[in-house]
Assembly symmetry: C2
Homo-oligomer: 158 residues x 2
């Protein structure tokens, strides 16, 4: 799918606020409502837009304590990796999990209420996962930037 300037602008506006109406968008882009509507539907169909979501205030839902937990596995067999990943996905405290290069194999972003809950999570859940060798926790002191908008690249793969 090839995204033109209008598509990119549209994506930028929808990332900022997905509740914008086609009428509002059409005025900003200088197009008809239907034209905008069709472009959005197309990007949804093609999977450029994956999902619409509501972003919550972590403080207000009691999940302000964020930890980056680096994890090294004991052994990197296919089975171990698959089993570990499957288990990690099922932990609701684990907001994100990436397989990464470097000293550690995985980085987990974990959202809990406070240090006590994090300790509980470590002791009762994370430690139970199989094949975990070593962990290293980095605590978030402050959030400087967390943008919901990804700049859309001009050139694209087919």
């Amino acid at each position: 799918m090839n995204l033109d300037q209008t598509d990119r602008k549209l994506l930028s506006l929808l990332q900022e606020d997905a509740k914008r109406t086609t009428k509002e968008l059409s005025m900003q882009l200088g197009l008809s409502k239907t034209a905008v509507y069709e472009r959005i539907r197309k990007m949804e169909r093609e999977g450029v837009i994956r999902q619409y979501t509501a972003l919550l205030d972590r403080e207000k839902i009691n999940r302000a304590f964020v930890v980056f937990c680096h994890i090294r596995l004991t052994q990197h067999t296919k089975e171990n990796v698959a089993e570990f990943e499957k288990q990690v996905v099922s932990l609701h405290e684990v907001q994100e999990c990436y397989h990464v290069s470097g000293d550690y194999d995985y980085i987990l972003k974990i959202h809990v209420a406070n240090m006590e809950d994090y300790r509980n999570f470590m002791v009762t859940k994370l430690t139970d996962l199989k094949h975990i060798g070593n962990t290293h926790s980095i605590f978030m002191i402050g959030e400087v930037k967390n943008s919901s908008v990804i700049e859309v690249g001009a050139r694209n793969k087919t």
Copy 2:
């Protein structure tokens, strides 16, 4: 603000898909459309729901190369920290930036198209930032989990 079981369920549904209609939500929750509508509006007013956004496919917008860049500052004066943070926020490649505990001061999550673009970013932009001491890049090999849904905690601060 106190969130009851219905609010939490509502938040969970809206995080999964913010485009769900009040009608659909009302059926799932066993309430009237208006009751659901009022609950949502209240959570928007109170700031529990911060924003609605469209999530894009990083591959399809040519931003599939993700790097976690750890940064240490040379000196931690108020001025340096403020200046650094201000500059970082303005870089569109930097999707997220956290002030953290540990060996490094900041973790940046950076989205670009490929290694070449990352190199360019490092050389022409990141290195230009003042007060940067040391950096360490960790490359994302795979995304195991990236959930748009944060579990909502039961108890809340006022």
